[in-house]
Symmetry: C2
Subunit: 454 residues, 2 copies
């Protein structure tokens, strides 16, 4: 085989041990909170039938799906060799997971008779999108979702917000949770006499942060909203910061909006005691793009950095209907783990020494000393203290270098003197301090050090 | 969207919460042992360039690679619309990971200047093969590898065998580790005057278990080995159980075989104190298919069930050479996690109540009692005790059913009486026993129960 310069496809990443340690810290933190609230993990396969995926993410989404070539002579059944779009369906039946929501909906329908409802599940798996790669955007990235299906109760929304608050508190990130309800937006569409244009209205005001009122009003005009309607939307946006009391007045006599307001109040009631109240902001303009939401919606942003949304979710009443199961309501939250990772990195919020896996290195002079330390290493390992015996017979300096570069905090040096006396040279690599200790003393010290750390 | 009956592509699997709990137990057990020995995790992406993968797994392997269709108008550059084999390379540049070894070799070469050698890494990720699915064989399955590169020391082999022994002891599986060295097989090829036919010889005697001596001798004949050579191989196979002392005699004056024997002795020396000696068997006929091995090789089998190999590995001297990095020796071990999972299932070796995630369920009568228990639930959750509050207002019987089906061991019932007195009804779901306890008493009890379990 000819030698070749190794490289990855664009938009793909390797994760080094240091990155893995940070990613595992982040994933574990989130997972621990999911578990505390009774959410259970599932996994779905990387490949789904294209018929499961296609048409669920809009036209653009369909073009961003990675498609897998059929095995064997895929041309046998191909008839449209002139048009790649038609040919795609003839030579490819499978695609890579594009998000976790559609596979989850498929899972619930397929396994509905084994599932105990209400079903609280979480999923942390990679997804793939053939997007143009750019800084911070990859073609393979992890998503991290928790959803409960089969329960209408707004207690679920309340618990999901508490979970988000706990996760970000643990990670040391200050966030703001913006809360709204799709019924408010529906009420607004009704109030301006355009109930059938609720989606267009939502899409337009969703852009307020990006294009300002001027842009939004222009878009509303183009979408055929009347001058009066646009004026009413302007008042709504102007006064949105006044909160629930304003909404109640503004929507007087509007049943659907008042339903939305009542739902928000019901979500807030059980959590007021737990989440600092200024961390939750009622934002009646919050729309969230995805059209399947029907009730409460929320979005999380870091307060110290403008990085866009780092989490969000909401209630969807008919998610599983696309796979034939009707009347099953669901509500969920999604953590933008790749962005949260970047944020923790930028703010220096990862705990120190995360990459410090090995605690003790035995530095050795020859095969005799190497074999001498094996039972001691074993005793440490049996107590779950990560231990390495330097495998090669190199100069001691090189072995110390290895310990420093790997951030190993303690090195035990074994030479012929140490073998005779049983007193081992035990060196703290951070302070440089060196002691002569017996095997038992070293083990006690390491166990104590671990206890202190935990 | 029209409703569609959900299904998975063939050979693909969903994992339910119960299966996930078992898989995580298995993966965590192995991972913990890897970490104890200083191995660190890495991850490589799902997709690699086809140029990285093709030609590394033999002709059959190439046909089993899943290939990803190029994005956009993939036909633009296509010229060979009549031949699917040629066309494949014109419309597909990426493939799915087929194993963990080739991506790891690519990783080492690509990141050689950031890596601290000796580099001990582990990887637990899914791989994909377009094999015909059958019982126990899937098109997506996990592999679990630990390798060290950049060290010639046979201490690595010794430690890898100790790791395997610890993993299977923890899992409660009785296994036999068969040990050999490729240099023995090379010595045999030299001894029978056919040094250039070492691969053909290895391939043939590797089949001894399956096709018996008759089959092996026939294959050797077909491969052009002489009658004398075949007779010599027969003696070798007949007396293989006699171990190292026989090998030393048989290979008298054969330098390469004696090198292999010496290496096996060096591997065994440091581990004899740790692994029961009858769990390691010298098997000079063990060949292991993959041709990149150059030194020690080993294979692990369960003693109570014939299930084929559930682990194995060996030393390869020039793995990274295919990507241009020469002279870097490596040695590794691979755990057949899917087969080990099946074995634990068959033998009933999974610990009980693995799927028992939630410890406490609050059963409630109305919204008032639901809100009343939120602070108590929060106190339990803050102490990392998985707790659920039943979200919907259903009959108590239904809430108890939910607890039973989810294997939740304790239920707290809150009604108006409980809210008044502060004495909560605390029910042990296994014994049916019911007590009236205060909030503090319940928390103390749950913390004690957890301590006892750990």
């Amino acid at each position: 085989m000819a030698s070749q310069k190794p490289a990855l496809p664009k938009g793909m990443r390797d994760f080094s041990p240091e990155q893995m340690a940070k990613r595992q810290y982040l994933f574990d933190t989130i997972q621990e909170v999911f578990k505390r609230y009774g959410y259970q993990p599932i996994e779905t396969p990387t490949m789904e039938k294209l018929s499961t995926l296609t048409g669920k993410y809009g036209d653009e989404g369909d073009t961003l799906l990675f498609k897998v070539l059929n095995s064997g002579d895929f041309l046998k059944k191909a008839k449209h060799l002139e048009d790649y779009k038609t040919l795609t369906n003839e030579i490819s039946e499978k695609g890579l997971r594009y998000d976790l929501t559609v596979p989850f909906a498929r899972y619930v329908v397929q396994h509905q008779h084994e599932i105990q409802f209400p079903f609280k599940r979480y999923q942390m798996q990679p997804v793939w999108r053939a997007d143009r790669p750019q800084r911070g955007r990859y073609r393979e990235f992890y998503q991290c979702d928790a959803d409960v299906v089969g329960s209408d109760s707004l207690l679920n929304e309340a618990e999901l917000l508490m979970m988000a608050d706990t996760v970000f508190t643990k990670l040391g990130l200050e966030v703001e949770i913006r809360l709204n309800n799709r019924k408010i937006l529906q009420g607004l569409a009704e109030k301006i006499q355009a109930p059938e244009k609720m989606i267009a209205l939502t899409v337009a005001i969703d852009k307020l942060d990006k294009i300002g009122w001027e842009g939004v009003s222009k878009e509303l005009e183009e979408q055929g909203f009347t001058k009066e309607a646009i004026a009413e939307v302007y008042i709504f946006i102007q006064r949105k910061a006044e909160g629930l009391s304003f909404l109640k007045l503004f929507f007087e006599g509007n049943a659907v909006a008042h339903q939305g307001i009542a739902e928000m109040e019901e979500v807030l009631e059980p959590i007021e005691a737990f989440i600092p109240i200024n961390n939750i902001v009622i934002d009646p303009v919050l729309a969230r793009g995805l059209s399947y939401y029907t009730g409460c919606i929320y979005e999380i942003q870091a307060t110290k950095h403008t990085m866009g949304s780092i989490g969000g979710g909401g209630r969807y009443d008919e998610l599983t209907a696309i796979f034939g199961l009707k009347g099953v309501s669901g509500v969920g939250i999604s953590f933008g783990v790749e962005r949260i990772y970047d944020l923790l990195e930028v703010q220096g919020n990862f705990p120190e020494h995360l990459g410090q896996s090995t605690q003790v290195l035995f530095a050795v002079f020859d095969k005799d000393t190497q074999h001498f330390c094996m039972p001691i290493a074993r005793r440490l390992r049996d107590r779950n203290i990560a231990t390495e015996v330097y495998p090669d017979l190199q100069r001691i300096k090189k072995q110390f270098d290895y310990a420093n570069k790997r951030d190993i905090p303690y090195v035990i040096v074994i030479g012929s003197e140490e073998m005779k006396t049983g007193k081992l040279t035990f060196k703290n690599m951070k302070t440089g301090e060196q002691q002569q200790l017996t095997e038992d003393e070293i083990i006690s010290f390491m166990l104590e050090t671990r206890t202190k750390k935990n």
